[in-house]
Symmetry: C2
Subunit: 225 residues, 2 copies
């Protein structure tokens, strides 16, 4: 083994350093060489533990998902959704910058995919078709990740690191309301997030009951034919 000084390099140590660096300086600061410098190690040494830089980003996703600790045991689909939504919101608050990996890389680790499989199973048990389940998955994660990213990683008006140019660009004369929003503190209570989520699930329940109705009609038609 090469001349060693520090605790031995491991995948885990690399990924933890990556998450820390991402939260400190943003995801674009996460480079193989920066990480190596942080870990007091040669850049190429990382490749003994990870396949590529993309694999490092996938590892960040994996770590965040592990921290989110989503439920995998059977439960009601809407309970799973509410639970998961809050876990993601908390995760985004803890990792405002690293959280953006979810828009960059897919879920790769089996432990990350397992809870999704559980959600799909719950949807099927409730009576959703496969096609509907697919769309509901997209709608649910789209809302949760989209909301959390916009609130914490921010990308509608302001950069990830809100700068002075953000304000100067939003001149109070031309864009009074946008300008005002940029100065607003974050709400302490998640009333809109919760209410919108609640409404979203309500809409999905409506789809379900409509689906069940038409399925039943189709079945009876089959039976009488």
């Amino acid at each position: 083994m090469g001349r060693r000084s520090n605790p031995p390099l491991t995948r885990q140590r690399i990924l933890e350093a990556a998450v820390a660096l991402a939260d400190r300086e943003g995801l674009e600061a996460v480079s193989v060489r920066r990480l190596a410098r942080q870990l007091c190690v040669d850049p190429m040494s990382l490749y003994n533990h990870v396949d590529s830089k993309e694999a490092i980003l996938d590892g960040i996703v994996e770590l965040l998902m592990r921290e989110a600790d989503l439920p995998v045991e059977p439960m009601e689909w809407d309970a799973w959704a509410r639970f998961t939504a809050h876990r993601f919101a908390e995760l985004a608050a803890r990792h405002p910058r690293a959280f953006a990996v979810f828009s960059l890389r897919p879920l790769m680790a089996p432990e990350s995919i397992r809870p999704v499989e559980a959600f799909l199973a719950a949807l099927a048990r409730a009576g959703f078709t496969t096609e509907r389940s697919s769309e509901i998955l997209v709608a649910f994660f789209g809302y949760v990740v989209g909301f959390s990213m916009l609130r914490h990683a921010r990308s509608l008006f302001t950069e990830a690191e809100p700068s002075a140019t953000d304000m100067s660009r939003l001149s109070p004369e031309e864009f009074p309301r946008c300008h005002q929003l940029a100065t607003l503190p974050q709400p302490e209570e998640e009333v809109v997030f919760d209410a919108s989520l609640q409404a979203l699930l309500e809409g999905m329940r409506a789809i379900l009951s409509a689906d069940v109705r038409t399925t039943r009609v189709a079945r009876t038609r089959e039976a009488t034919a």
Copy 2:
């Protein structure tokens, strides 16, 4: 002026090439040097028309927003939201890969911000407080952009360019439902997108009426005190 051969280089031509390249090979393929090669021009020549690579990405956002052509004239807040949601969904379908810039860069161009200002004005007219409007903006754009990205740019199971590894990773034994989803074609009708959006707006209307009620109570308390 330098030795010219082609039509003159302009910001517009650069940005159009950037959008085309992004849609063809993904946003990560958009580099100053690649663009210059496409335009048969020296890399540094681009800097006579744009400030930086970030400015190019901002320009992509600008072009897409111009193409979306969101309403800026006064209208009901929920009508604006429905209209905008569909424009964004269509935009994402036309530019599946370039669409991801919305998660990378904020709105910079005044013409991009103007419709948002109009939406905020509509929310205020309807009776939403500034704080509520801010959260509703996040919820709305979070849902619309999140959904569209997940559907078209895809990043939950599969890469932007769905590859064979996506399927092999989702083994049919361990993840039967996720595996099945990866093979599913896109639905021809947007029933879940529409229904969820409808539900979302319904939830916001509920918040509004609750707000109006409490505001009225507070006002009468003030009056009687």
